[in-house]
Symmetry: C2
């Protein structure tokens, strides 16, 4: 079991000490915060003795005081540091742990003990990771190896899980769903006695690191586990079974947070089969977990996945809103609806999901995807944090005191990009997504440039060339990917099934509701009021922008409108010329990234360097396919040549 | 192990007898011919006692005399039958078996003992089936269940294998390759001790039915089995290993015919890796099997399967000819080159392979495909026999005494369509392909109408409605499939990988060399002298036809030429209108087939009827997709409406 420490690979500081004294209440001596300090100090000041509450204190000592202060909220911390004395106060052990990680990050970046103050509480109260791990060890849409949670159909708690918990706590993740929302095969038994012991062990580990443990249960469990002939959420026996089961598992599993449920979606079971609503289903579960402080997170990813491509009236983009808007106010207060960031499915560019701000009387969680399903599968570098930040700061234009997504949601979740690969995320650079995600949720004010810089330096040290190159790669990577894949918001031009590489009409004549409708004259989907009406799901001020071809932002034009190739964008370019230009430019950017990376040989560890080289080679190969195939596709249709005479095959 | 008897399900005759006397030399009493007669008589005249050489003979008796006559060639038979006395003479036990099957077929169709004479020898000396069965039981491109040869990684000889041998002998198959040309996993050990006993048993069974047993060996076996560091066909140790191995296996396995080899093709090992030619590789093996009368069949399916789609100069159609034509005359006399019927890969319409007639000093075998890989996968009814017959009768226009393919080749092979499904071929109607194939090779003069009728009546009895409906379905099915899939010879508009259902650009930007090059103005590939030059691979008289847009037959136009959608065909229609018309008509034909089939309820056995209904339902669903997607595709590109105003989505 070989794995890297990622950004927790503490390096030696420039200033040395002979003693590090950690002063805290005896009860904190066993805390994760205390332990993390000891681990860090052993690497950062390797010559120092680390002591608890020593009497000796001189210039060669460093004193770190850990204090619980009840006036601070649970996850809040307050740090006052000088070169020799640091006080970290927090509202709980978890808050202390967050404070310790913040302190360690600060001195790691400074390279020495420094003076600073920091007082933070998380921007988002719920900060989750959703793992799509299967009990058999596969990971759905996983690009980083196999599951490290499930090995040989058993749930593991081991060195790697401990490292995982430390990494997650270091970026402030406080909730983890350990299994796939599609509950298959042995995962259907997660609520049964089969997994009781291992879940208990994992819950204990997670508790130590301030992480609530969540499970995706099989909604049909009353049938599959208990043998009832129904899973109807209003059936008395079903309710009774869930109540009893929850009483049992919550009594055993410390820090169990509750359930995440994908119901009536892409073939998963749900309440609709019994003529019940999503609210009926979610509330039934919510009542079963409520006595134990549990919550139920219910996904809004519900649409018709057997659409006839001939049917031009049905618009998948409308489905999630249409399915849930009528239920606003009907969910119990411990139910959270989890909507993806956009209305369709994690494309590189979508408008923000219209439920945010529209569903005023419902707890909402926004779901992002760190796993690069549609964004290069960790072979392409695609740092998604700028996109996440943009979405969180998006103004929904609903009539609210603060209409931004970040103020509307009660929490944030992301599909994890981890696996049992050495560097956890297949590519080291993909770990920047994981890091940035957690950090951003905890501290929304931190800029992407700051995040890119701090991650790069924590990962690779202080070489300026490395920092500058990696920062540039990260910061430009998402736009490059959007450029050479599918600009102007059209989406879904990837290969079906594996969602990798270009296939412009791979989804065009299929059942998934994901069409570009390109023909020799025009491209895009009319989702304005005169089209599918999707734009009307937004607040009037935004509906007016999206629905109007003259006001719609260029980057979403083909998502909302069908236009001729000669349509002129706000940028002044025609649609077809924009397509050609972005594809050539996007590929050129990818080439530049690879060059930057190759320049780092000898400056970063060899294993990481080589892994990156292999991945950049694949990114270039694939980006070239994207460039040439998408350009060729639109050239064959439009018959319009590139103004700059570049080769289109 | 449940399986049907297909066309060997002998029914009771209209005239009864009390005795059937089989008169033959004592040595023939254990022959398959004698046994088959006994099996058949027990069903056809169930009240009769079957005797050997009885003295009693009266009006109520039927005498069948079996005689070996040395003046007849081995597989030749001569029958003189009257209502009461039948003499079947042949050159060998195998010939007798063929005579017996011919006699039984005749009386089964007549429904009684009748007077007739028949004197036949097979039209083709080599009549083979190539099974693409894997040692683990899968069948590559199999649509009829799992392998019945390989079960749990063992080679089986059982009741089903015996029935298989009887079925094959009844249609005159005299060579069977039992494993896939792509030699994977445990099949690599077929030459080792691992399979020695079971191959010996199977060889014995096959010998009884006149079938030579063939194996696809791993060309790299000297490395994989023996542990040498090379498989170079000119290396002394390699030659020695093959010689020793062949001595061993030919001494053990009765009726071993030799090897079928796919070398240097789609990643399979071969001589090219060692800088040797196909002739070097084939001759080395041929010399190893020669002492035992063995032959080596070497496939010509060699092309670059990693082509860049941007490369418009390379033409896969040219590859097979280009790879082999220079080697004409260099192969030993027990080497047979096996070329597919067309230059690319079993599309519903291709020109005949240009090697036939061009390679004058080489033994050639033509390879067909019964497994409906590109032709509906046994879910669509597609009776391929009219196409096979057309190809066999095709005039190559080479300067030869008889320039037809049937006179040029030394034998015929076909990829089998069997598996462990109840009816052997997934769909009962697909068994007509297997039957027709064997019968056509044995007797090239039989017409498709006759074949359709005799198979239908042997399978389903004499109900006129059944015969008329099934005959009509079979005879029209291939044209219907061509119509609603890809008319005018364009091909490859299917889904990649599984080759089922429409995906007009699924292969367009991929590495397989299979492009339609459609754009808003034109479609098709210029393979004339001014294009890829492929047409020049034919004899001048034919090159002149194919290479000239005004002479090229309509059905191959888009294979050989790139034309605008408005190009007018010999038929008088434009290309685009032809596409629309054939797609609407093809689908209408499929609808008609389904109606005909539904009219047979109660007239054929229920199991067959239901299986057919399910498959016709799927054919209709899929044919509708073909119709609408291909029409939509070309409409989007061309912008030209259907003259008849039918709906194009």
């Amino acid at each position: 079991m070989e794995f890297s420490k990622l950004w927790l690979d503490y390096r030696k500081l420039a200033d040395n000490r002979s003693r590090v004294i950690i002063s805290c209440d005896k009860t904190l001596k066993d805390s994760a915060a205390f332990e993390e300090l000891k681990i860090a100090m052993a690497s950062m000041v390797p010559d120092a003795i680390v002591l608890w509450k020593s009497e000796v204190f001189d210039d060669d000592s460093c004193l770190i005081v850990l204090t619980i202060r009840p006036e601070l909220s649970e996850e809040e911390y307050d740090i006052a540091a000088s070169a020799n004395i640091t006080e970290i106060c927090a509202g709980s052990e978890t808050g202390l742990l967050y404070g310790v990680f913040a302190f360690l990050r600060k001195i790691a970046l400074a390279g020495r003990f420094i003076s600073f103050t920091a007082h933070k509480k998380p921007s988002q109260p719920i900060r989750m990771l959703n793992h799509w791990d299967e009990a058999d060890g596969d990971i759905e849409r996983g690009y980083s190896g196999k599951s490290f949670f499930f090995v040989n159909e058993e749930l593991e708690v081991n060195e790697r899980t401990v490292m995982y918990a430390r990494l997650m706590a270091s970026i402030g993740i406080n909730g983890v769903v350990i299994n796939n929302v599609n509950v298959r095969r042995k995962a259907k038994l997660l609520l049964s006695i089969e997994f009781a012991e291992s879940l208990t062990n994992l819950g204990e580990l997670f508790a130590r690191y301030g992480i609530k443990l969540f499970i995706c249960p099989d909604f049909a469990a009353p049938k599959t586990i208990c043998g009832l002939d129904t899973a109807d959420p209003l059936d008395e026996n079903v309710i009774e079974w869930w109540n009893t089961t929850c009483a049992l598992i919550f009594s055993k599993i410390k820090n169990l947070g509750g359930f995440l449920v994908k119901a009536d979606s892409e073939g998963e079971p749900g309440p609709m089969a019994y003529g019940r609503t999503h609210a009926d289903g979610a509330n039934m579960l919510a009542r079963a977990v409520k006595p134990y402080g549990g919550i139920v997170i219910w996904r809004c990813f519900v649409y018709n996945c057997t659409q006839d491509w001939r049917d031009k009236k049905t618009d998948r983009a409308c489905a999630s809103y249409d399915n849930f808007i009528g239920l606003d106010g009907q969910f119990d207060d411990n139910v959270y609806l989890q909507a993806k960031n956009g209305p369709v499915d994690f494309q590189i560019r979508e408008p923000v999901h219209p439920l945010f701000g529209a569903m005023k009387n419902t707890n909402l969680i926004i779901e992002f995807q760190l796993a690069q399903e549609y964004t290069g599968q960790q072979k392409h570098v695609c740092w998604l944090i700028p996109m996440f930040k943009e979405i969180m700061e998006h103004h929904t234009r609903h009539d609210l005191p603060d209409d931004r997504v970040s103020r509307i949601v009660c929490g944030v979740a992301a599909v994890a990009n981890t696996g049992d690969s050495y560097c956890w995320t297949g590519s080291e650079l993909a770990a920047a997504n994981l890091y940035g995600y957690g950090r951003l949720l905890f501290d929304e004010d931190v800029s992407c440039t700051e995040l890119a810089e701090e991650w790069t330096r924590l990962m690779f040290g202080d070489d300026e060339k490395v920092t500058s190159a990696v920062k540039e790669i990260l910061l430009d990577s998402k736009q490059a990917y959007e450029d050479y894949t599918v600009p102007l918001g059209i989406g879904w031009m990837c290969h079906p099934n594996d969602h990798y590489g270009p296939s412009p009409w791979g989804y065009e004549f299929d059942r998934w509701g994901t069409y570009n409708r390109a023909d020799r004259d025009a491209v895009g989907v009319d989702r304005s009021a005169s089209g599918s009406g999707y734009s009307e799901q937004y607040a009037p001020a935004l509906a007016d922008v999206y629905g109007d071809i003259t006001k719609c932002p260029d980057e979403l034009l083909l998502f909302f409108h069908r236009v001729p190739y000669t349509h002129r964008l706000h940028s002044g370019k025609t649609v077809i010329q924009h397509i050609y230009d972005t594809h050539f430019e996007g590929y050129a950017k990818a080439e530049h990234f690879a060059e930057l990376w190759h320049g780092l040989e000898g400056k970063i560890d060899d294993r990481t360097f080589k892994n990156g080289c292999e991945r950049f080679a694949e990114q270039l190969r694939c980006a070239k396919e994207w460039r040439d195939i998408i350009n060729c596709f639109f050239h064959r249709l439009s018959g319009i040549d590139d103004e700059n005479g570049r080769e289109i095959y």
